[in-house]
């Protein structure tokens, strides 16, 4: 009888223990190939699990395209994870009531513009972990060899930029690494940053939303300017097939390019060890502003986008645990840890004065390019929808910078897309 009691007691204890550890929440996330970001999130998970012994987070890592396709199917079928990676242009999630309302998060710790990017009908839906700007990275040594000096303002004018392209081509070197083999947006950076400066934020917004014609003389002038850069051989001959990851290596390793126009998340790949695709040790990396545009309304304007974020599934059975975990990111400590480790901006308020670590200098350089900047929030494909977005991707992201079509064709195609 005593043995039976002992067995029953042991069984009860085991049951109680399992009950404590039974809250399991699932996460699907991009960044399978971006170790720095993945390490950051895995570290956050470990910290959260240590602080909340009853909760276990099961993470699955994907590449973005595969993740998006899987999520669309899983959300339709009701088999999506409790929380997942998303970006604020995916407002179809919010439109269809698929996301958990995150109003109860500690929004005081999050930048107001980042909250705005994730707001839909007055409610916030995403934790804006990653924010990024479009940056012109350059190889200091190469620019020195080309005789190009970056001014103290960190901004070349458009003529000097054209000269840079010609000098690099003259030495049989690619002036700017960029490729659109697997992404719908990098090729468009060249044009949209120029248009933003020329038009200023309000008219640029009107242009992207179809309220300003692409035949506007300022738009046509800017496209002509970009065309001179393209015609000078600014981009790689493999531009149309070069993938984003390959473009990184193209810039810093093989064959090498003078500059690289990319999101400030460059670091998440480039600061990996060289044998894992990172830039060479002691690579002379510099960052400058996008070239100034003649007759610009706002040469200090630049794009900032909220990128990788986490959202809750509206159908989760563990909303409290999901909210608690997402809330764990909303602290200055977590923001600083993100900056120190990932070296990309974040939508969470950070105390920049406390940033330390081996790449602190890099972060100061990055901050310098944003000094005095006026921001437009979102890259074009985060603002556009449907046909204009598709046409923009094919025309402005791909065919125009590839040199396949001219300015008139861009204007015609974009105007037609909004009809």
């Amino acid at each position: 009888m005593k043995k039976v009691r002992l067995l029953l007691a042991a069984a009860a204890l085991a049951f109680a223990a399992s009950a404590v550890a039974q809250t399991k929440i699932t996460m699907w996330s991009h960044w399978a190939a971006e170790k720095i970001k993945r390490d950051y999130v895995e570290d956050a998970i470990k910290r959260f699990e240590a602080a909340n012994p009853g909760v276990k987070i099961e993470a699955s890592w994907y590449e973005k395209t595969a993740l998006y396709a899987a999520l669309k199917t899983a959300l339709r079928a009701g088999t999506a994870p409790d929380f997942f990676y998303a970006e604020p242009d995916q407002f179809e999630y919010m439109e269809n009531g698929l996301l958990l309302d995150l109003s109860s998060l500690n929004w005081a710790a999050i930048e107001p513009w980042a909250k705005e990017a994730w707001s839909y009908k007055g409610k916030p839906y995403g934790v804006p972990l990653e924010a990024w700007t479009v940056e012109v990275f350059f190889n200091r040594k190469t620019l020195g060899e080309l005789g190009v000096t970056v001014p103290a303002s960190l901004q070349l004018d458009s003529a000097a930029f054209l000269e840079l392209a010609k000098k690099a081509r003259g030495k049989n070197m690619t002036p700017m690494a960029l490729g659109v083999g697997d992404r719908p947006y990098p090729g468009a950076h060249l044009t949209h940053e120029a248009l933003l400066k020329k038009l200023g934020t309000q008219d640029y917004d009107n242009l992207l939303k179809g309220k300003l014609s692409w035949s506007d003389p300022r738009v046509v002038d800017t496209l002509r300017l970009v065309k001179t850069w393209v015609d000078a051989g600014l981009l790689p001959t493999t531009f149309t097939s070069l993938k984003l990851g390959e473009a990184h290596g193209y810039f810093h390793t093989n064959p090498g390019a003078a500059t690289f126009l990319n999101g400030s998340w460059y670091t998440s790949r480039a600061f990996n060890p060289p044998d894992k695709g990172g830039q060479p040790v002691n690579f002379p990396l510099g960052i400058m502003k996008f070239p100034a545009i003649p007759g610009a309304a706002c040469n200090e304007c630049r794009t900032i986008a909220v990128g990788g974020s986490y959202v809750g599934n509206a159908a989760t059975k563990q909303p409290k645990a999901v909210l608690a975990f997402l809330n764990s990111f909303a602290t200055p400590e977590m923001a600083n840890r993100w900056l120190e480790n990932v070296l990309v901006q974040t939508g969470i308020k950070a105390d920049h004065s406390k940033i330390s670590g081996p790449h602190a200098g890099y972060f100061k350089d990055l901050a310098a390019t944003s000094a005095g900047a006026k921001y437009y929030f979102g890259i074009p494909i985060q603002v556009m929808q449907g046909k204009p977005k598709e046409v923009f991707t094919q025309v402005v992201n791909n065919a125009f910078p590839a040199g396949t079509i001219g300015v008139d064709e861009v204007v015609k195609q974009m105007n037609a897309a909004y009809k």
């Binding site: 669309k72 339709r76 493999t238 531009f239 149309t240 097939s241 977005k389 094919q394 396949t404």
Partner: protein, 307 residues
């Protein structure tokens, strides 16, 4: 009642059919067919008349999706590309395959090696083939441009998958390279089954190599050729993987196929609506079915005329 041999009536025979066992054996296959083929087809047809969104009831929109599709120039561009591919590719594949099969049939030196070498591409998935050809077509260091440069034809070197004028022919070349070997093996089997006396009779009549091929061999293996043409046509009307790996339909929709466009509308446009993509699928299914029935009818008519 009609009597049956042995005095067993037909009705009695029917009554003794083991319907329970027949049902038990048919049920698994029938269930799989209904669940994975019939239901999805019917559901797609149903969806095409609705707006289908998660967590909301299906909203009947009548023919609105079909009207939108009729005005969708990207869809029609994809249709043009796909039909061009589906018409050009089978002719190229079967013609090359026939020449290769005849070469092997006439026992060229190294035939075992060539049979394996020519057949190998079809053993690879479109994913692998796509990656290999993206490399081959690379502007800077790809084999295609390297060969042209080596031959002094630098002027013809180009970004094969980045130029809208040549991207689709470049992809058609890949599928031709990939499938010619498969067609060759089937045609070779057909050649080996030909009656030897007919070939010998043609040789006795001093019929030359080309004459034998055109007047004797091709007519005899025509049913096989026609089947291969139809199979290849159907395959190209559905092509997706290769385009997705290499160009994603670009540049400027020059390689967009109906399948890639459908996928984009279902999974990449900022919408959850499955109604419009279902309309694309329904219309395309009807077009493919009509084309296949038309081809089959045409081939039968020609056979009737000849015999």
């Amino acid at each position: 009642m009609t009597g049956a041999p042995g005095g067993v009536s037909v009705r009695a025979g029917i009554e003794r059919q083991p319907w329970g066992a027949i049902g038990a054996f048919l049920l698994p296959a029938f269930t799989v067919y209904v669940a994975l083929t019939a239901y999805p087809v019917l559901r797609t047809f149903y969806n095409s008349f609705h707006r289908v969104l998660p967590r909301k009831g299906d909203e009947l929109v009548g023919l609105a999706n079909y009207a939108e599709l009729a005005r969708d120039e990207l869809f029609w561009r994809a249709v043009r590309n796909t039909i061009l591919w589906a018409c050009a590719s089978p002719l190229a594949e079967v013609t090359i395959a026939l020449l290769l099969a005849v070469a092997l049939y006439s026992r060229i030196p190294g035939m075992r090696f060539f049979r394996i070498a020519w057949f190998t591409p079809v053993l690879m998935s479109y994913i692998v083939v796509g990656i290999i050809w993206v490399w081959i077509y690379n502007y800077d260091w790809g084999a295609a441009n390297a060969l042209l440069r080596a031959l002094g034809l630098e002027g013809f070197a180009r970004a094969w998958l980045g130029d809208p004028k040549v991207a689709l022919p470049a992809l058609i070349f890949i599928t031709t390279w990939m499938w010619a070997g498969f067609n060759m093996v089937v045609l070779l089997a057909a050649l080996h089954s030909l009656p030897g006396e007919v070939i010998e009779a043609a040789e006795l009549d001093n019929c030359g190599w080309a004459g034998k091929l055109w007047f004797v061999i091709i007519p005899l293996i025509k049913p096989t050729i026609l089947n291969l043409l139809v199979l290849s046509f159907i395959g190209k009307m559905k092509i997706f993987d290769l385009v997705w790996i290499t160009t994603k339909g670009g540049p400027l929709w020059s390689t967009e196929t109906v399948s890639t466009y459908l996928y984009k509308r279902a999974f990449e446009w900022t919408t959850f609506d499955l109604g419009y993509p279902s309309t694309i699928a329904t219309v395309w299914f009807a077009i493919v079915l009509t084309a296949v029935l038309g081809l089959t009818w045409l081939f039968r008519q020609r056979e009737r005329l000849e015999y």
